[in-house]
Amino acid sequence: MVTVLLVIFGFVAGLLGALTGIGGGVLLTPVLALHFGVPIRQAIGTSLVAVITTSAASSSVHLQRHTTDIRLGMTLELATAMGAAVMAYLVGYFNRSVLEGLFAAFLLYSSFTILRSGGKLKSDKHAAAMTPNGEIPPYTPKRYPLGLSASLVAGGLSGLLGIGGGPIKVPVMFIFMDVPLIVATATSNFMIGVTAAASAIVYYRRGDIQPGIAAPLAVGVFVGSLLGARLAPRVHTKVVVYLLVAVMLYLAAHLSVHLLGEAL
């Protein structure tokens, strides 16, 4: 029964993630911890498996459209994988309350950022400008030291929270490194798999990934995100984004109450 619920939950998270472009990883960890009674470290590890699955599937599509800069991605992966692996290792020494608190803070921060931008996640205007006739304008990635440092942090956050970190990697490449948005998006997706794997391997070795939870969840997320990617052009994204923010705020509140309940 729990298995069925995990598939359904994964499906919904994958669907919302693909529709909004935010990535469903944000929902996976807290819902697993709060509603499925999974210890938070296992919830993070499990969420990473689902993140790898989605990244692999969507990245193969981007690669076939030749919008991924494999060389840039591989270079930044040096930093994201390092950050992710080290942080995943350190998480073994964090206690549960610290992780839950960090996650609640992260959910609040993300919700706030989305609300401030008026629910507009994808700058469609920019995306359109980048491909006037489906061609990628010539570019040279700039400011590698800055890009690598930011990638190290993005990798660390991924290993700490079990998220893909697309909303961090895309602006790093687009704004700091002068990479066209369409390439930045595809390359971020490409990097997410390796980044998540770098930390997931550490979680797995520690016994923080339970196949009985990870498999049904990944199956649901996989189907949900494939469907979401199909539906995305036809759905009014803004409504879905606000729905997602509402869920995120609820989860942040729930985590905080949970923490307070323990402290008192």
Binding site: T3, V7, V49, I52, T53, S55, A56, A57, S59, S60, V61, L63, Q64, H66, T68, D69, I70, R71, L72, M74, T75, E77, L78, A81, M82, A85, A88, Y89, V91, G92, Y93, I136, P138, Y139, T140, P141, V183, G193, V194, A196, A197, A198, S199, A200, I201, V202, Y203, Y204, R205, R206, G207, I209, P211, G212, A214, A215, P216, A218, V219, F222
Partner: protein, 99 residues
């Protein structure tokens, strides 16, 4: 840098990811279906195989790209890929924190 990309390279890497993602999906579904009919360890072992293959897919992707870069004599990115591969493998050696 963007003009240095060649279609064949992208296609091979895409194939690795697709085979990994869909292969693992099928194995995991197999494990879930087996769980409906079988009790005990077998369904869980199938699911574990799916999860482990999923974790291995990005590693294989880096290894394949590494091989392709060296075959093209693009040593700089060959070594970059090798570095990423090393980080991934180190994680699996030193990935034992407290339980």
């Amino acid at each position: 840098m963007s003009e240095m990309r060649e279609p064949g390279f992208d296609r091979i890497v895409a194939l690795v990811l697709r085979v990994g993602a869909f292969g693992c999906f099928v194995i995991m579904v197999g494990g879930l279906v087996a769980g409906l009919f079988l009790k005990g360890q077998v369904p869980l072992d199938i699911e574990r195989a799916g999860v482990v293959l999923m974790l291995a897919t990005p590693v294989v992707r880096v290894a394949v790209a590494c091989f392709l870069f060296f075959r093209e004599k693009d040593y700089r990115y060959g070594y970059v890929s090798l570095g990423v591969l090393l980080i991934l493998l180190l994680g699996s050696v030193f990935g034992i924190g407290e339980h």
